[in-house]
């Protein structure tokens, strides 16, 4: 699987989106994941796509969640089609935010 590096992300994203073969379903899934991540309170700071254009095998979004409470965790776990969730508490001396890496897998069987 090809992984898109962050520095080339903009170019790769354009390539994906400009691909005539990229179907409406893939774009719909991507849009939904982005909205969901926002809804979960994630302030996104990075994305990665995996897959050979036009196919998107995985979407990895990275973001921070400022309010650490059980509701925030619940919202993240309620997201659909996630394959992997990585959560790290951050803050010195007292953790005040979560660093979250979410991997979405559109084509789950």
């Amino acid at each position: 699987m090809k992984e898109v590096k962050n520095e080339n992300f903009e170019q790769e994203l354009m390539t994906h989106l400009n691909s005539l073969e990229m179907d409406k379903k893939s774009m719909s899934l991507l849009s939904t994941y982005l909205v969901q991540a926002n809804k979960a309170g994630m302030k996104l700071y990075d994305w990665h796509l995996k897959g050979q254009p036009p196919r998107i095998d995985e979407l990895i979004v990275k973001g921070s969640v400022e309010n650490i409470d059980s509701a925030a965790i619940t919202r993240i776990f309620e997201l659909k089609n996630w394959k992997e969730i990585f959560i790290l508490r951050r803050g010195i001396p007292i953790p005040h935010e979560l660093d979250v890496h979410l991997t979405f897998q559109p084509h789950q069987g």
Binding site: M27, S28, S31, T32
Partner: protein, 360 residues
């Protein structure tokens, strides 16, 4: 004016200003120095209809007393309204936050520069790179004139932003627009999808396809993140999930009785003086009245609450459920959908002899 949008939605309230925006969008004239192919209000050179400044001021004063705190002057080209400076001066004296949307072409004139004293925020319309902008505007100088206006705004240290009509155009345009906004130090970039209204009805080739809307929506999320510390990027498209989570975005408040103002957070005064909810092209059957009646907004709201508010609430509710029921659609130009629905209600109200009256 080329888009049916209000830039100040996303502009942070100035310090000390009353919390929360209630906006009055004023179209004092449809006279314009350009004749853009997508103009939803069909503005064009030579249109003579204009608002009476005293009627307008009377209404705006009464509206301020009811909590409306922002005016957004549009058009037509606002600088072709002879009383623009007076309108803005009086509005500032009243206490309003003032903004205007312009193509920039007339800003270099001295009197227009002087008007800037009474403007808090200026939105300059940009349709794309020079050739695209000029082609849409039907004027080979339009882009350079807009750039000249931007330089004047910088010189006067005015807050400004850009407003762009998203249409059938390359995705790269969005990257270019963001760089353009960044390079000029603008604080805002608003993206408003093409609407098939006014002269835009004859420009169907500019309509965004479903796939293009998705592509721009995804890119918007990327650029919003990339430029979050540079400027505010706004896209006037709603995702289905947002509609479900925040129905109040489309003025749908289930099982809640709220004052009329909550359903009328944005009022539009068209070039004939009609006071409309939501949009310049909203069905006039839903008008609150006309500014030439010289009735204070408080009185108009009282009457509206008795006669039309239930119809308006029903309209928003119907439009909301219709959007959700449209399962094939995930991204909505909600303003356009609500406007379309307002015209469907007209047919219904006429056929069923509804209490909604047509404004003469």
């Amino acid at each position: 004016m080329n888009t049916n949008a209000t830039l100040v939605h996303s502009d942070p309230a100035p310090s000390g200003h009353r919390k929360g925006y209630r906006i009055i969008q004023v179209h004092p004239t449809l006279n314009c120095n350009l004749k853009c192919s997508h103009c939803y209000s069909s503005s064009a050179p030579g249109l003579k209809t204009k608002l009476n400044i005293d009627d307008l001021h009377y209404f705006l004063s009464s509206a301020y007393d009811r909590g409306y705190n922002t005016i957004a002057v549009s058009g037509g080209e606002p600088f072709l309204y002879p009383e623009l400076k007076e309108l803005l001066r009086r509005s500032k004296e009243t206490g309003y936050y003032t903004s205007l949307t312009t193509n920039g072409g007339l800003l270099p004139h001295k009197n227009n520069r002087d008007t800037l004293e009474f403007v808090d925020l200026v939105a300059v319309s940009i349709d794309g790179v020079k050739e695209e902008h000029n082609a849409i505007r039907g004027n080979l100088k339009a882009f350079d004139q807009a750039l000249e206006a931007v330089e004047i705004l910088k010189e006067f240290r005015k807050r400004f932003g850009f407003i762009h009509l998203l249409h059938n155009e390359p995705l790269d345009t969005l990257a270019w627009l963001c760089e353009f906004t960044l390079s000029h130090g603008a604080g805002l970039l608003q993206l408003h999808p093409f609407e098939s209204a006014g002269r835009g009805r004859d420009a169907s080739h500019m309509q965004l396809s479903v796939e293009q809307t998705f592509r721009f929506f995804i890119l918007y999320h990327y650029f919003r993140q990339k430029h979050e510390n540079d400027f505010l990027l706004q896209l006037d498209v709603l995702h289905r999930q947002t509609l479900l989570d925040q129905p109040e975005t489309v003025y749908f408040f289930k099982d809640r009785e709220l004052p009329a103002e909550e359903y009328l957070r944005e009022l539009i005064i068209d070039e004939h003086g009609y006071i409309l909810p939501g949009s310049h092209v909203f069905n006039r059957e839903f008008a609150l009245g006309n500014i030439n009646e010289r009735r204070p907004l408080a009185e108009l709201l009282t009457v509206y609450s008795k006669e039309k508010l239930e119809d308006l609430k029903q309209l928003y509710e119907d439009a909301y459920y219709e959007m959700l029921a449209d399962e094939d659609v995930e991204l909505f130009n909600y303003a356009e959908r609500i406007i379309q629905h307002s015209w469907l209600v007209k047919v219904k109200s006429q056929s069923q002899n509804s209490k909604v009256k047509i404004q003469k």
